[in-house]
C-alpha cells in the first residue's frame, strides 16, 4: 500500500475544497485585514504612537497575519472534517486501507495550506498599508508552519467531537477569539501589570505571535527558544490526542 498516494489524495481533496469555495475561504480574511488596518492602523494607530519601538501599524502587522493563519487553519479542518462526518464521506477513508496517521496528516496538511495561503494573501494586502520589514525569514517560516499545524490539529479534534455545526463554532467563538485578542496581537504584554503578564504567559498564542513578530521586527516579549518549545509541545500533545481519538473511532465508528 502506497501511503504517499493516499496522503496526496486527501491533501488534494482538501485543497480542491477550499479553492472551490474561494469566495468563502480566501476573500473574507483579505477584507477583514483591510478593515483592521484602516481602523486600528490609520485611524486609531496614528494617535497611539509607537509600540515596542515601532509605529503601531508596523507593530500589529505580524499579529494580524498570525491571527488569520490561526483562524483559517483551525476552521478549515474543523468544517471540512465535520462536513465529511455529516455527509458520511469520511467513510470513504475509513473503509480504505489508509493508516490513521495519513488521515490526520492529510487533513492537517490541508488546514496548513489554507492557513499559509491566507497568511500570504493578508501579507500582500498589508503591503498596501505599510512597508513590511524582514528580520529573520526562517523564524517567520518556522512559526507560520508550526502555528498552522497546531491549530489545524485543534480544528481536527474539535470536528471529531462535534455532533452539530454549532459545536464547530463554539470553540472558535468562546476560546480561540479571546485567546487571540489577548495574545499580544494589538499590544506588547510588557505593558500589562505583572499579574496579567503572568496570566498571559499561559496563553499559547502569545508565544506564536511574539515569535512571528520577532521574524519581522526583531522584537519579542518572550524568548524564541521558549516560544518554539511551547509550540512544539502543543503540536506533539494535540497530534497524540488526534491519533488516539481516530484510532478508537471516537465520533467515527459505532
Amino acid at each position: 500500500m502506497n501511503n504517499s498516494i493516499a496522503l496526496k489524495s486527501i491533501l488534494t481533496k482538501e485543497i480542491q475544497r477550499f479553492m472551490r469555495i474561494w469566495v468563502q475561504t480566501l476573500v473574507p480574511p483579505a477584507i477583514t485585514i483591510s478593515l483592521y488596518f484602516v481602523i486600528f492602523g490609520s485611524l486609531i494607530g496614528s494617535r497611539i504612537g509607537e509600540m515596542g519601538g515601532f509605529d503601531y501599524m508596523s507593530f500589529i502587522v505580524p499579529g494580524l497575519i498570525m491571527m488569520s493563519v490561526i483562524t483559517n487553519s483551525y476552521s478549515n479542518v474543523a468544517s471540512s472534517f465535520f462536513s465529511a462526518k455529516w455527509q458520511r464521506n469520511v467513510e470513504e477513508m475509513l473503509v480504505a486501507p489508509v493508516p490513521n496517521w495519513v488521515i490526520v496528516a492529510g487533513y492537517v496538511g490541508g488546514g496548513m495550506c489554507r492557513g499559509i495561503l491566507v497568511g500570504l494573501i493578508v501579507t500582500l494586502v498589508s503591503l498596501l498599508f505599510v512597508d513590511i520589514q524582514l528580520h529573520n525569514i526562517w523564524v517567520i517560516i518556522a512559526t507560520v508552519v508550526l502555528t498552522s499545524a497546531t491549530f489545524a490539529l485543534g480544528g481536527l479534534i474539535n470536528a471529531i467531537f462535534a455532533g452539530s455545526f454549532d459545536d464547530i463554532s463554539i470553540i472558535p467563538t468562546f476560546i480561540l477569539t479571546p485567546l487571540t485578542y489577548l495574545g499580544g496581537v494589538f499590544y506588547s504584554i510588557s505593558l500589562l501589570p505583572d499579574f496579567w503578564q503572568g496570566v498571559s504567559q499561559a496563553n499559547p498564542i502569545v508565544y506564536m505571535v511574539n515569535a512571528f513578530r520577532y521574524g519581522f521586527l526583531g522584537i519579542s516579549d518572550v524568548s524564541l527558544v521558549t516560544a518554539f518549545a511551547v509550540i512544539i509541545f502543543f503540536i506533539v500533545t494535540l497530534f497524540t490526542i488526534a491519533m488516539t481519538l481516530i484510532s478508537k473511532g471516537i465520533g467515527l465508528r459505532s
Binding site: M1, N2, N3, I5, A6, K8, S9, I10, T12, K13, Q16, R17, R20, S83, A84, Q87, R88, N89, E91, E92, M93, L94, V95, A96, P97, V98, P99, G249, R253, S254
Partner: protein, 326 residues
Amino acid sequence: MTYALEISALAKTYKGGFQALKGIDLTVEKGDFFALLGPNGAGKSTTIGVITSLVNKTAGQVKVFGYDIDTDLEKAKSFIGLVPQEFNFSQFEPLMHILVNQAGYYGVPKPLAIERAEKYLKQLELWDKRDEPARALSGGMKRRLMIARALMHEPQMLILDEPTAGVDIELRRSMWGFLRELNKQGITIILTTHYLEEAEMLCRNIAIIDGGEIVEDTSMKKLLAQLDVETFVFDIKVAATVAELEQFVEQSQEITYRVIDDHTLEIDLNKSQNLNQVFAQLNVANIEVQSMRNKSNRLEALFVSLINKKSSATKNKSQSATVGAN
C-alpha cells in the same frame, strides 16, 4: 481452504445495550454470489459495518481472504469494495474527483485511477456527468456512482447493501447484468436486498439473519426446495359466473382451488401434485386459461415463513420464561 469471508461468533452490542449481533457464524466462498437477507433491524448492516471496519465489534472474529481484521486490518480492507445503503459521498464534489480520490486512498496512482474512472463511468452510463457535482445526480445515478467508486481499486470482494433500493425496474435489471458480469470475472459478491426476487435471480448461496442470529444458511437451490406449497393465479379467458366456478371448485378433488372473482382462480399446489392435473381438470370443466403466474415470489414465501417461525419461537421462549419465573 481460504474463504473470501469467514465470520465466527461475531457479536455486537451497541452503547445503549442493543444487541445487534448475537454471535453469528458465516462463511462465503471465493467467487460466490451470496445473499444476506433479513428484515429491517435484523443485523445485516451491522455485519457489513464490522466487516468493513465502520462498526467496532464486541466479540468474535472476521477474516477477509484469510486476513484477520484484528491483526491485518489494512490488508483485509484492500480486498473489499463497499456499496453502502445510504449515500456517503460529498454532494459538492464532481464525480471524477470522488472516484480518483477514492482510488488514491487504496494507493492507485492517479493516471491509472483516471483510466479506471473513465472505464467504470462509461460502463455505468455516468460519463456525461463526470464533471458535475454529485448532488446533481438522480437517485439511480447516485447508486451507480457508489458502485463505480467501490470498483476503483478493483477489489476481490464486493459488498452491496441494498444497491437497488429506489431504483426503477429497467435500471435494476441493467445493474443485475452488470453485477453478474463482475461475478463471472471472479469477484465475490455479497448482497443484501429487500427485493427477494433479486436475491433469487442473482445469488447462489444465502443466509437469512433475524434478531442478530443466522436462521438459515444454505444454497439458494436447497432453500427453494424446502418450499412445500406454491400458489398460482389463473386468469380465466371467458368469464364464467362466480357460481359456475364455485361449483367447479366444489366438485374438484385433490387440488385446492379458490374463486377470487369471475375471471380469477387461485390454486395451491404441493410437491406431490403437478400442473398437468390442474389443466386436465380445467379442460374437463371447459374452463379456458388465458394466463398463469406465481402468486408470490418463491423466496419471499420461504423468507416470511422462516422469520415467522423465529419470532414465534422467541415468543414461546419468553412466555415459558415468564411462566418459569412465576
